[in-house]
């Protein structure tokens, strides 16, 4: 496209890999890739804490995997940038002398870049599709218990269809037991987020949405609303208590018999 410059100029001439700046970039690239991958994934794993379900373990693995997969790209850009900075820099009010070349393109470099970024993109897509498939499968688990989740301005409550009409403001779940949540809202849009289990689904007024998870750790975890829902959105949270099967049954039996549930989405009760 250039009108003035000779088109045969290219970076890849002769023994280009023996040039000093290329060698510097390669060393920096390896160092930066390792550093970026290591520190970023450490940052993520520390922040995301203890997963309470396999779904969450998968989320953490996915994010770490993406971090490691993209760190060579980030490392390469960083290496080129730092190498460029380490060259002769010019300060002052007048421009530096012109660069020693006038290369305006490098088909080989751009082609390589395109192919690699397409491959990385394909990789991310395949990994994502596999994980998505797993999450979708969980909704169909025949052994799952069902919990109806109702969000309303600024509280969650949980119904246990199939019980004696047990309803609670704290979610109790038996460990290692698949559970399907049927989520809806009474007023505006909320988002039901079981933080340490890595699942989330919006609670829409007038519709029922589903999500599923299998808690695999006994303990107390957090449920937070993840969609701005008005005045007390910040306080629209409560706990999920994951306990042994026996403890769960005991809790269920200890709840007062209300004799009815308010609503039963299709398929929620066998």
């Amino acid at each position: 496209m250039s009108d003035l410059r000779s088109p045969e100029q290219d970076y890849f001439k002769g023994k280009w890999w023996k040039r000093k700046d290329v060698k510097q970039v390669i060393v920096l690239w390896i160092v930066f890739t390792a550093m970026i991958g290591y520190f970023s994934s450490k940052f993520q794993v520390i922040a995301m804490g203890n997963p309470a379900s396999e779904t969450m373990e998968n989320v953490i693995n996915l994010i770490t995997l993406f971090t490691w997969a993209s760190s060579p790209v980030a490392g390469f850009v960083a290496a080129l940038a730092i190498q460029a900075l380490s060259q002769r820099r010019h300060h002052g009010d007048n421009p530096p002398p012109e660069a020693e070349h006038s290369i305006s393109d490098s088909p080989r470099a751009t082609a390589t870049w395109l192919v690699i970024s397409a491959l990385l993109c394909l990789f991310a897509l395949i990994v994502g599709l596999i994980a998505l498939q797993k999450d979708d499968q969980a909704l169909l688990d025949r052994n799952a218990i069902h919990v109806n989740v109702t969000g309303q301005q600024w509280a969650w409550n949980y119904d246990y269809p199939g019980s004696t009409g047990v309803r609670s403001n704290v979610l109790h779940l038996p460990v290692d037991q698949p559970v399907v949540f049927h989520v809806t809202s009474k007023d505006v849009k909320h988002s039901f987020w079981v933080v340490q289990m890595g699942v989330k689904i919006d609670a829409n007024p007038g519709y029922v949405t589903q999500t599923a998870v299998t808690p695999n750790k006994i303990g107390t975890f957090d449920i937070r609303c993840a969609e701005l829902c008005g005045l007390l959105h910040a306080y629209m949270q409560n706990k999920v208590i994951v306990e042994s099967k026996a403890d769960y049954e005991k809790w269920l039996a200890s709840q007062p018999d209300t004799g009815h549930t308010t609503w039963t989405p299709e398929g929620a009760i066998e």
Partner: protein
Amino acid sequence: MERKVFGALGTVIIGIAVIAGIGTYVAAAKNDPGITQATPAGSFTAEDGKSYPQVKLNLNVYPNSGFGGHHGAGGGAHPDWVSYALGGPNGEILADAKSGTNFQVPPHTAVTITVYQYDSGETLNNDFFAYVRGTVGGTAKFVKSYDTKAKANASPETVITNIPADMVGHTFTLHGMSDGKDQLFVSVPLMMSIDEEVGAAEEGATESGYVQNPTKTTFTFITGDEGEYVWNCEFPCGDGTIARFGNAMSAMGYMSGHFIVKA
């Protein structure tokens, strides 16, 4: 050069001053009349024999903001909004209640709240809140008609676990965020007042015209560690808004407030 240093510093200082000024204005504009400390009231012995210090709070619920004082003369900016307010020890209307709907109680204490409910009622949109939850014994003491003039129950006191979901005036629902500590959750439905009396109350803008026989609900719960909670009404009473949760329901000082557990 010196001029530039001063200029830059001056800009930063002016900038901070502007932000501080606007921040102060916005903080003041919340128009929140302070925090009410609950009154100490002896001690409370739980069913398991454990004894706790006890504090008390008296609240009233009105069908409009003309009463209770803390919205200002004539009910303030929105006289037709329903509102909670601090009440007298026997359900009296406090025309000069300076404090709004923020309360503070000590940790590990029995908190006894009495609510005199002057408003009418309808059906809850979620009967979960028709049940008494999180109080001592899972119950509340309920009086269908309380004579504020005679300062006595006009009907017998009963112990309730729930009320019909289509007769709810308001609810007192206390909750907090999930932060690794005990999580207080208390929700008590407040029975509606019978229609004729509320009708009279809504007509008359004066104290004398007000319903004199509100429903009375008393409940006790035990606080845990220190923490920040909020409470709100779960009966949809923001008329004319979507899901009836706008207006009074979406403004602090009316049907919601802070609830601070702090020594």
